[in-house]
Structure formats: C-alpha cells, structure tokens
Amino acid sequence: MKTDYDVIVVGAGPGGSMAAKTAAKMGLDTLLIEKRQEIGTPVRCAEGVSKNELKDLIELDERWIAADIVGAKIYAPDGTELRMSEERAGSEVGYVLERKIFDRHLARLAAREGAEVIVKTRAFGLERSNGVATLKLMHQGEIFEVSAPIIIGADGVESKVGQWAGINTSLKLNEIESCVQYLMADIDIEPEYCHFYLGNKVAPGGYVWIFPKGEREANVGIGVLASRARRTAKEYLDEFVKRTFPQGSIVEIVVGGVPVKGPIERAVSDNVMLVGDAARHTDPITGGGILNAMKAGIYAGEVAAIAIERKDYSSKTLALYDEKWKATIGKTIGRNLLIKEKFVKFSDNELNKLAHSIAKYEVEEMSVRGLMTRLILKNPKLLWDLKDVFLKAR
C-alpha cells in the first residue's frame, strides 16, 4: 500500500469492484479496500439477476452461475398464481448467482486492470483539505493514512463514507426491508422458476422468495418492511419454512437490510461519490441491487477519470456522476418507489383482487413493467394514481 492514489474505493462488492476496475482501466492509480478478510462473504443477497442486463456489464462465466431461470411465479395471499415467463422466446431470463465466487471474480478483474486490492482493511475516518481526501485505515491492527483526490464509497448499507462526507442517506424504518434467507438443501422446488409470495400475513410490506440454486436447493428468504413488521424477519421466515419445507435442511443463514428509499437527492460531495447500497441504489420493488451497483460503479469510475483530467474534484464536477445514475438507475427506482408505496398499503383482499384480474393471462414480459402494464389495464380505478406516472415513464 502506498500513501497516495488517484482513487480509493471503499468496499469490494459488485459496485466497488466495478468502480475500481473502470478507474484502473482508464489509467487511474486505484486502491480498492475491503474491511472483511474474505471478499464475497458473508453473503447478504438473494443472488437473482436479469440475464440480459448482466451480460451487458460483464462476460459471463459459469463458475459463478448457480442456476438458469426461465420464469417467475407470484402467489397472492389466497394462493392465486401469476406466471411470468419468456419461455416462448426460447431462453432463460435470469440467473441465480454464487455471490461468493462472483464478488471475488469482479475484484480479480479490478486487480487485472491494475487496481491494488487489499482486504481486512477498514476505513474509520475521512478528512478533506486542499482538494485532497485522506482516509484513516486500519489493517490487521495497524493504522495507516492514505490520500487521494477521489474517494468512492461502495461501503454498503452500513456506509460510513456517506455520513463522513455529509451526504444524506439516512433510512427511515419505512425505507428499509429487513431480510433473512436460508440456503436450503434437499427440498422439492421447481429448479427453473423463481417464486414470490405476497401478503400482509406472510411478509408485511415485502415478500417471501424461493430462488433455485440447483435441482433440490434454493435460497428461501424474506424481506419485511421494518415499519410494518410486528415480529422479526426471522420469525416470519421460520413460519413459512416450517409450513413449506418442513423436511429441508438449512445449510447457510444470510441476513441483510435492503434500502427501498428510491433515489437520494445527491450521491456526491467534494472528493466523494457513493455507489450501490451506500447510495441506496437498490430497487424498491424487487430489492435487487447487484446490477444497479455495477452500473453505478462504472459511472463513478468514468467520472473519476474526468475529474482527474480536469484536476477538479469538487462536488460540481462530480455532479456528472449524479446526472449519469439519475438518468438510468434513478428513473427506474423512482418509478418503482411509487409502485411500492401504493402496494404496501393494499390489504390482502385487494392483493387477491389484483391477482384474480390477471390470473388467466401469462405475463410475457418478465419485468415489473410487464406486470404493471397488465395490472393497470385491468384495474384502472384501483391503480389510477400509478397510471400516469407509470405509463408516461415508459
């Protein structure tokens, strides 16, 4: 580790590694630090991604793909099944990843581009003066100071970089899903379908998911809106698992908090950009965050290169990054925030009615947009206020 770099990226998840990879590729002297001793563990994720979007961002590698998915089934509180699939197009639509391997792969790609990667290194303070930021780091008990004009905070839901830089990312209890997941072995599942269970009893303000990771293995998890839950997420999940997979074995426990806040006002400050969970880039409807974090990482890396070239690291220049993520990620998560706010208020009865209205159709576009378009057409009154927002946003 040197004492000065062009860019220091805090956090080696998908967002941080893509930021470091991009910055290094553009010729910047880049340091990527990770506080954990192992990149990729413990996992905090349901591991589902869209196939098309992922392959636009990175070359696919079967070593980190646990399962191919052809469709999804959504269950209303009364058990009504909605099926979404693109089988007719003849290809799988999504993957369930093996994040432990995926995350390491991305960090390795960053290293291959020339970024210096260091693990078991925690940032515990940030100071900025004369256009340069200095991070205080602790590595295996020793304290170091490292400086760079650009700091990229990819430090997750528990981000400190954002707090130190005065960027408002605080999450209220109605802006975070409290999540628990079990990797379950030897259970009866449909290995090519993701399953989602909705309802105020099953998962208030969220859903239960089953994401296959093999013929008889799946991530079985739950997210509940912290402001709506009456018990812990774990208690809700245990109830579902006891009912659905009483014979299954739990071979891993995954826990996490997923921001569902929608777009924040700004993700930059002088010398600092935030990406991924740290910038609350997760999708308020699906809870998905991997692809958004990767995209944000790429944008941040690109803007870092522009700032270095201009020798201007002020929030004014870094606002280019805000423009980039808001025009893409921001649009979708803004739209999905409106849908989320509408849906968390529905009673189980209303959710059932919505499901009945489209149950006989197969939704061919496997996306929030595909589902919502069908729902709005069939339920114009109930979803009146989403009509304009949603259809216009197309």
Partner: protein, 58 residues
Amino acid sequence: MISVNRFKCAYCGACIGVCRFDANELIETWVEINDNCTMCMACVKVCPVGALEVVDEN
C-alpha cells in the same frame, strides 16, 4: 442502553443503515454502539434476527 447479542447478530449492517446519530459501526464482524445513541430504537426494530435489545445499565 442498547446491547448486541453477539450470538444472534449476523453482522449484516441493517442497524447502521437506520441510525441517524452515527452511534454504531460494523467493525469486520461485530457491531459497536457508542455514546451518540439516543435510544431511538430504530436499530432494535430493523434487526432481522432480533439481536439488539434494551438492557438495564446496572
């Protein structure tokens, strides 16, 4: 005060995400709570596994 049951905690960081007072931090595999804590209870409510609890200071 708020106390972390380390046997339950899975160090996911959700409690840090909801803290408005910069009163907690996830240090590698454990959560530390500092004197900024106002006992607002947000962290207790968000914890997915119920690892945070209020304990009597004595």
